[in-house]
């Protein structure tokens, strides 16, 4: 399971922000899309 690759919690937060920032909604991984629909309807 990739769930816990060897990075710190802070690095993990940075990776999320780096991945999402500036991306179009239609170009994110499917599970991000599910979350975004939940958050924004």
């Amino acid at each position: 399971m990739v769930f816990n690759k060897d990075i710190t919690g802070y690095e993990n937060e940075e990776e999320f922000a780096f991945y999402l920032n500036g991306k179009q909604v239609g170009r994110v991984y499917p599970n991000f899309l599910d979350l975004l629909y939940k958050l924004y309807g």
Binding site: F3, N4, G9, E13, F16, A17, L20, Q24, G26, Y40
Partner: protein
């Protein structure tokens, strides 16, 4: 929200429940991100936590029992000379822990506890909107309404340790060796959500989109 909309996302540099913020079309959502095992969701000094307990109406007798558990040295202020481990304390005082658990797991308090320990904390004005568990390539998530739901669902679980639904409360350190370096930890209460990924998967499998 549209497929063509752009996402803004940034890390929250202040110590709050939200680790990142997501902004789409001007609307900002706060997200807490967890990874690893035995996730800590909250740390707070025992003094401010007791104030919170009083604010929500926990009776003094239960607060005293909680303090005896916290310090496990026969006092409610941590100045006792003989400290014992959590397992030794449980062995000798399980009935008191059961009494605390009975009160803490009363339905009337659960939303206050979830708000305070998991979603908002004592330093922020807003709740987080969701919790992510995992890494960018592989994660699960739970929305705040689902956190309230699953915590209410598990209120009646039989658990021996001091707990509130799926959360356990413990001193950050018992410091049985009186090491000055760790002494501050005796005055800090740590709240852990041990089975966070399992509980998120439980929500996804059995409750999401079925209510």
């Amino acid at each position: 929200m549209d497929f063509n909309d752009y996402i803004e996302c940034w890390v929250n540099k202040s110590k709050r429940k939200a680790d990142i913020y997501i902004k789409i079309n001007g609307y900002v959502r706060g997200i807490s991100i967890k990874k690893g095992i035995k996730n800590s969701v909250h740390v707070e000094s025992v003094n401010t936590l007791i104030t919170f307990f009083r604010e929500i109406g926990i009776e003094e007798e239960i607060i005293r029992k909680f303090l005896y558990y916290q310090y496990a040295d026969g006092t409610i202020n941590g100045i006792g000379k003989k400290r014992i481990s959590s397992s030794a304390y449980r062995e000798a005082h399980q009935n008191e822990i059961d009494e605390i658990n009975k009160v803490f797991n009363d339905e009337k308090y659960i939303n206050s506890f979830v708000n305070h320990f998991v979603l908002q904390g004592n330093k922020s004005l807003y709740e987080v909107d969701a919790i992510i568990y995992g890494v960018v390539e592989d994660f699960v998530w739970i929305a705040k309404e689902e956190v309230y739901f699953i915590m209410q669902k598990h209120l009646k679980d039989e658990v021996a340790s001091l707990h509130i639904s799926l959360l356990t409360l413990q001193p950050m350190a018992r410091n049985l060796n009186f090491n000055p370096k760790y002494e501050f930890g005796r005055n800090q209460v740590q709240v852990k959500w041990y089975a966070l990924p399992d509980n998120i998967i439980e929500v996804m499998a059995f409750y999401r989109n079925r209510k």
